[in-house]
Symmetry: C2
Subunit: 271 residues, 2 copies
């Protein structure tokens, strides 16, 4: 799987809580700009969407952590994610000398998605990307033309409809699709140090987790709640060709200090 000829690509996902804090975001974008090698960014923005929903009098309905997206909510998230947040990140990166280009999954047909079936939960205009249909050729043309793609978590169904999409899943899909062309590291940056033994103690960081350890941590309740899909997603990415997944605090992007997920400790030592 690991060819010596492939170049390295960093797929970096930044969570909505960081995006919502201008100073933290600015500092993160400076680090992202300094990250060496090919790279792309995926951003969330749920906190700002929820606040704008209040201003517009749109009720926020969440089921299992996912936003129910009716037509009004789709308009809202498209405005906030693809408009305000995406263009501000792009302008900020341009200021730093990073030639960023903002994209939704509709742009250049980069991320075709399937609208979720309405059973058992009708999420409305919510879609899941088709990783095998990601336009990896076009994205790699941009990257190798020294453009840094910045993706928001809006995709499309190819039939004229935009779809609200989970940003972790967008990052997973891009990393997976591009791992055929690059040695790909997927970074999930958020406001915690990584996977913690004790969620209230940043010092209790687990530096690495392999597949067997994951099961043990799940049984002990250390991997729980929202961390379960993130970790399962990560191991699926590795299975599909992504070299490494790191879950870490946004401030640690350059030091890479966080929880490293790898197929097995053996593979990890080989590197």
């Amino acid at each position: 799987m690991l060819s010596k000829n492939k170049e390295h690509l960093s797929v970096v996902k930044i969570g909505g809580n960081i995006v919502d804090h201008p100073e933290a975001l600015e500092s993160f974008l400076s680090d992202f700009h300094r990250l060496e090698g090919w790279k792309l960014l995926v951003h969330g923005g749920g906190v700002m969407a929820s606040r704008m929903a209040v201003r517009l009098g749109i009720e926020t309905k969440m089921v299992q952590g996912r936003r129910i997206t009716d037509a009004e909510t789709l308009k809202l998230v498209t405005m906030v994610y693809a408009g305000w947040i995406n263009k501000n990140i792009v302008a900020s990166l341009q200021k730093k000398g990073c030639n960023a280009l903002g994209l939704s999954g509709a742009d250049g047909n980069t991320i075709p998605a399937l609208r979720r079936p309405p059973v058992p939960v009708d999420y409305g205009f919510v879609g899941d990307p088709c990783p095998e249909k990601v336009n990896a050729d076009f994205i790699s043309q941009l990257i190798e033309g020294k453009i840094t793609p910045v993706f928001c978590a809006i995709t499309h169904d190819g039939n004229g409809s935009l779809l609200n999409t989970n940003a972790d899943t967008v990052a997973y899909s891009l990393a997976t699709a591009l791992s055929g062309k690059y040695h790909t590291t997927l970074y999930y940056c958020f406001e915690k140090e990584g996977v913690l033994k004790d969620v209230s103690d940043p010092e209790s960081l687990i530096p690495s987790i392999n597949r067997e350890e994951r099961e043990a941590y799940k049984q002990q309740g250390i991997i729980a709640g929202g961390m379960i899909p993130k970790i399962d997603n990560s191991f699926q990415a590795i299975e599909q060709g992504v070299s490494e997944v790191i879950i870490l605090h946004a401030k640690n992007l350059l030091s890479k200090k966080g929880t490293v997920l790898r197929e097995s400790n053996r593979a990890s030592q080989k590197e």
Copy 2:
């Protein structure tokens, strides 16, 4: 100026009144998709921005037809133009099989702009593009890679700030900058037949105007109000290398029936 080796490019600007009517927009986008040769689209959206301003309780202040853009208004127009309108147009074109890519002037540093000086009127976050700094190389790479760029009228100052920009001017700047690479036709599509002798009579269309005729029409009051900057802009575009400018109803894009502006009748006959 006109080299036989250059390919043809259509720069099409669609006004906010058409964008605001889903059926008219859909029909226009079908025609735009059928337009042959290289092309790009620039869209307005002022009507929808004003309506969203009301919902958000943001006061709309216009001076000489231009929106005063404070920080809240910049957020609003970026959400509406770069988010909602731009991504919906892209998704709609993708449905038709047109590989569209939405852009603001910040994306790929395509349209650097200068913020207007605060004297005599402080328009706030409003900028005018620098046509000589338009990233024509990158835009032509996209176009020749069979991507159709779709620009909203948001640019940036290169110093981290987005800028609200007149969509006619964005179209003019793109057409001018790209006329070095292509025989460029600039289409200003809106909800009237073109320049009318009698504004209430669509049958009174003036089929073509040259520079000398423009002066006569101005003196007669036939070219007046908002049409003056559009026409002056158009002749400036021609002066800067654009082959032809057509002012026309959005429904007439394919027939090209409208008011054609040309340097002189002689030049027009040569073609």
